[in-house]
Symmetry: C2
Subunit: 356 residues, 2 copies
Amino acid sequence: MEIAELGEFGLISHLTEEIEIKNAETLKGVGDDCAVLAYDGERRVLVTTDLLMEGVHFDLQYVPLKHLGYKSAMVNLSDIYAMNGRPRQMTVSLALSKRFTVEDLEQFYDGLRIACEAHGCDIVGGDTTSSLTGLAISITCIGDAPADKIVYRSGAKDTDLICVTGDLGAAYMGLQLLEREKSVYNAQVREARQRGEDLASLPPFEPDFSGREYLLERQLKPEARRDIIEALAKADIVPTAMMDISDGLSSELHHICRQSGVGCRIYEERLPLDYQTAVMAEELNLNVTTCALNGGEDYELLFTVPLALHDRISAVPGVKVIGHITKPEFGLQLVCRNGTEMELKAQGWNPIKSEK
Amino acid sequence: MEIAELGEFGLISHLTEEIEIKNAETLKGVGDDCAVLAYDGERRVLVTTDLLMEGVHFDLQYVPLKHLGYKSAMVNLSDIYAMNGRPRQMTVSLALSKRFTVEDLEQFYDGLRIACEAHGCDIVGGDTTSSLTGLAISITCIGDAPADKIVYRSGAKDTDLICVTGDLGAAYMGLQLLEREKSVYNAQVREARQRGEDLASLPPFEPDFSGREYLLERQLKPEARRDIIEALAKADIVPTAMMDISDGLSSELHHICRQSGVGCRIYEERLPLDYQTAVMAEELNLNVTTCALNGGEDYELLFTVPLALHDRISAVPGVKVIGHITKPEFGLQLVCRNGTEMELKAQGWNPIKSEK
């Protein structure tokens, strides 16, 4: 059977369905942003891991290694916050092909260190080895949380409010922008080669990013939302369900609804969008709502809170209520600007299903 | 600067020298078999991670995926035992190119699960994604140990006895055997192609492994030494220093001596060797002592105990005393069978320094 038939989540379910948990300390295994472990006392240990492959998750033609280090750390830190935890330790493994120099690695580690220092996370180990082609990055982040504050994907209840932080779709727009400028550059190089010109004689390539800085930053330097986790704690709000938005809002809502056994209704007009995202979508002739729903890599938080907390959650800066949880029989619905309803499809980025 | 100039351990030291530990819970970061974390209570959390790349760490032409899953788990379990801990949880990340099927992955997970079940370790998460070429495997293992029982590399003292478990060099010999049969097979295919023959008409290839089963098993199905850790606990022995032998005895002795600030003297005649290892070395015209010292992938334990425990440690089955710790000024010495002394060089397998 081809792996693409199952997709990432189908494959994981298939491979892990027979796994029995044997240690009483393992409170939660596969299936959330982190595993949850109970060692002594009232604190729980959270574990999350990510494997990033060159050519699939990042393109070194336009991603500086320092940014790559920063982002690699952020995507893992974000998973710890998504459980309402605090990151504490990180292991970092790299497999490098021969083209990388020590200076390249220093750049990568610089970015990694800046991210970890900003989030109070210690780099405690890893593995450095070689690869035949490309760069592979594997990061595991360990965090902790008091037992009664951990938030799973499975706790959303009918009538709960659905909240998202920041704005959506900008990281995806940043990626489109980088891909467009890369195509322009590659075309120039190709044409120069066809004319038999020396590539060194080409004028320096100056990509046109003016006025699009925010989109680039969202793609190259995402920020895990520690500030939101702290603001929620200060406001004494523990969400009923939470996850971070890495594959796109629509895909993540599907996870929460499936794992909580509920439906949802969200409103197109309430999706938080940045002005630059809208302008760029217009320019590329893309539907901005589709980008916000399915773009991915936002690393914002998606969470639910009881309806009774409406006023308190509305007062938290950076949080927007975009809809509410419904009974499961209503499915996942998007209420469009014109009042029509359509079913929310999970078309998020899926590295296994996509044709790479 | 080229990475090969620094080598793996030089590179890691270079990249991590500026890392400051910020969490009081991080008792030990980079530099041992595992990181050591103190959450609540008297138990410590151990973390180790490995990144294995196709073509560098394994060759799917002769390693069945089930064995690969088993071995990938074992090398991480071995690191937890090397701290005198018990494995508890594991995360498993895979990056797959398009040639893998769901059935392939099932084979891999079968091996993984058998290893984890035998060692009471829960698979709690991971990441499954795609790669442009080859298979990448990243495993993180979490274990625990009572605070006062953890054994670091840095605790060896002058006059301590140096002990190893099992026998050495057999996994390396198994690799040589597999490589030899692969060459024979590839040559047959090449010649058939040159003669313009249909490859399907070739007689089935029957590698000659008779009488070498132990060498193959050591290479394809290594066993982490949980039994030794349990036997030491039963005998109430806590080693002063310990690590597992993954890169070769010589390389690991260098780690222990450097981190403990000591020297050592080991005896060639006391190195534990299997009969098949010796026969195979003879056949391949290799020095069997060199293979035992530098072969790697044995996943046996190397540890030191106080001299006073000589009788007690000698009574533990599967453990052999091969020498003793000395003052640092004596360096690392091998006493040969003929009585001459030579300096022990660390020529262990180093994926970054080697020419791949």
